[in-house]
Point group: C3
Chain length 338, copies 3
């Protein structure tokens, strides 16, 4: 299976560098998300908006770099930038301080969705918040717990499947920076949320998936029964719909139901337009078995021209399921006629 | 009223063939949905995710055929294919085995949303799952109950307003098959869900409604006070928004609220993009009276060029309400300038 | 600060004329929304769908007029039409009778979303419901409480962030009327809903915001800590996504959570397509501080070409925060390159 291993998914590599930071303030370790496991989440019970965790402050240095093929990326080490950038994971209540080192010759920034930041950390040229070429600048993102508001209503907290992106390269809206790869996922978990075994970032960016087109979209791999988290992000100038074969989720904050009476719509296809993001977890192959499952934009002209990839669910022991290699070969063999 | 009767809606005809299969395993009867009625649903109480029904397996033969005008359709009898195809209705927990007979000279398949299937029933050429011309092949769709998951969250079940479509005609994504009519509605009901009196499938497929344009979109008819179910499906290459005059629904799994504190957004206009689907029930004319009510894509250029139809709410006794015939005549008289 | 005051936002002016009608039947006073305040809402407790208020009937005269620049608008006094038109606010259970005076030489109408109306008040040429040039015609919009329905489900009420628009100018769909400014917000509040301090209507209409483009989009102003209500409406022929910097809300009926277990997705970016609308309230600058916060369409080519504005959060005492004037100057200085 050398062929598949050579095609290890980009976002899987990235997830190994992701930061589910449960450690002491200021300590940033590239913790594999699977080390916490789901058991611990279940054991914690559900966080009902009560701030169980005391907010901690984590610091990380991010390097913005030019990449081959005219791309740009964010990375956690010099020379290691990727598209998408690393997944940032924090707990509701935490603060993340990002020291952004601009190792390019272009003006750029980092702008988050969903979290709190003052104008100096806005990442927008409007607020004079960006890095000149070669400049290092710190952006501070904090988070809030949900809290009781007026009239018995509650004010939303920061927990969610969010994202971050450049807001300054090429224009005041970061249009060129985004087009060329300066984006990534930002996950803010609430106490009690479920931690996945594997995690994939899927960005529909103009007519690409993670700035790649079929058959070059990385294959996303998991073993039967693993808890897999998808973080889907939309960018660019086009409308899209994200479809995953044989798996479904609830269209709400977590992708799970809050209980048996949760009215949330269950979906396997969801709009994914610029600036939007959502996330969900599935048990790989649950009720459907292992195999090469398609994920693609369901806008027909978009899937036809390359917005299509494979979620490879291996057997529970990691071996290839019957027929999966043939499916992958069909996918790889297609160069336009898919 | 010969004129209107001659224009009996396509999807109304279809609904008479729809299969709300509550019978013994393997027995497939074209039961009119109204035979169960809402009373029975209410009497059952609400299914709170507990598997009250034991899953049954239903078998049906579906014929894919070429139709006049370059269209293709699915049907439950040879020579009876329609666009959209028949509504498939099952209960959560059931399994549906579809024996698809390909009576065309083109490769094609059937691919469902929302339900469970293994790779052999994927309907995708990627998984070698399709019918060659003249071939008969069985596709198996099963369903799951919602169930308690990790951390007190619940894993979604299969209940929902889903759909099915070709995934192989003309390309590996079924783009030509979908464009030419190979699609239909799939409803998976949960115990306690409400059964409608009438049911309409409305597919926004590229710039058409059910592959027709005004003034040829079939008129959807109901009597004042009847419980009418709309199943809306999006397909093709364009973005759309579905608007129904004078009726509204909750944007969640059922279109109803789960109770008085259900936070769901109430809408009368909803995005309907490719691969997406939703359903809801309204009491025809409730609070607004009978008449010729428009439904249309709210993208202005789309409604202008023909994505517009009529939901005709007759008087309770089935007679035509004042002014409705004149409204229909205006609709029929327009050939572009609507 | 003369410069900013000269740029007082259009919709803020409009909100002063909005009608949160809590007065006796038939009395229509241009009440500033802030006079009720949030305290009163909290004091009322949450309306759980029980009709606490008896429905009242309010009457208002609306004047449709031609405006400079080829625009059309609705207004509450002759010669005072605006784009967007006035915000109509009523309580669930109320009825609003609109006497529409057509002071233009074009056929036009007024068509609402979300509320009840019979065919005579549909506002559509299909139902012969429009004003000829110079004609005065009365449209009646009523509302319903949510109520228990079949099987323990509830039928949605009329409460929501809705909108109204022309449905007759230039075509049977009002395409020209909408394009030229005949639209506005319609808010139906439920007993217990929270009343804001300030209110802004933001309409993404084709490639404009309220028929203006940056840097001419009015600056929306509030003081730190004020409760600000955004009503976002989509119109035209394009898809859009509405993004507000540094503030977030729940994507449901109110924008608040119904309680700590509400599963609603929390967003700061949301699809805003033709015919759709949503609303939410934020505490200006909550957790992020004052400043010039961007709001814009997140479709990159749309923000680049002018779908971008400023939500100016002043200090609590109304003074300008540090750096905000410079940000506004940057915004005003940009004429295409933003």
């Amino acid at each position: 299976m050398t062929g598949e291993q050579a095609r290890l998914p980009q976002s899987q590599k990235v997830s190994r560098r992701s930061m589910l930071v449960g450690a002491a303030a200021g300590v940033v370790a590239p913790v594999a998300v699977s080390t916490l496991g789901a058991g611990s989440a279940a054991a914690q019970g559900r966080g009902k908006g009560r701030p169980g965790r005391t907010g901690e402050t984590h610091r990380v240095t991010v390097y913005a770099e030019e990449l081959p093929g005219g791309l740009y990326g964010y990375g956690l080490e010099p020379g290691k930038a990727t598209v998408p950038g690393p997944v940032f994971e924090i707990w509701e209540g935490d603060t993340l301080e990002i020291e952004l080192v601009n190792n390019t010759d272009r003006r750029l920034s980092i702008h988050p969705h969903g979290v709190n930041y003052d104008v100096a950390s806005d990442g927008s040229p409007l607020n004079d918040s960006f890095n000149e070429p070669g400049e290092t600048r710190t952006y501070v993102w904090s988070t809030s717990f949900q809290s009781e508001g007026p009239g018995g209503f509650w004010i939303p907290g920061s927990a969610g499947y969010w994202h971050y992106h450049d807001h300054a390269l090429g224009s005041d809206h970061g249009t060129e920076g985004i087009a060329k790869g300066l984006y990534g996922a930002l996950v803010v978990r609430r106490e009690g949320d479920v931690v996945p075994d594997r995690q994939f970032t899927v960005v529909f960016n103009d007519m690409t998936i993670n700035n790649k087109m079929a058959p070059d979209v990385p294959i996303l791999e998991a073993n039967l029964g693993e808890r897999v988290e998808f973080i889907a992000i939309g960018h660019g100038n086009n409308f899209h719909t994200f479809h995953l074969h044989a798996h479904r989720w609830a269209d709400n904050r977590t992708g799970y139901l809050q209980g048996p009476d949760d009215p949330s719509k269950v979906v396997d296809n969801r709009d994914l337009n610029p600036g939007d993001s959502f996330g969900f977890q599935v048990i790989a192959g649950d009720g459907v078995g292992p195999g090469a499952w398609m994920f693609h934009c369901h806008v027909q002209s978009h899937s036809e021209t390359g917005m299509s990839g494979i979620f490879l669910v291996r057997n529970a022991d990691g071996s290839m399921p019957d027929g999966a290699q043939e499916a992958i070969d069909r996918y790889l063999g297609h160069q336009g006629g898919h």
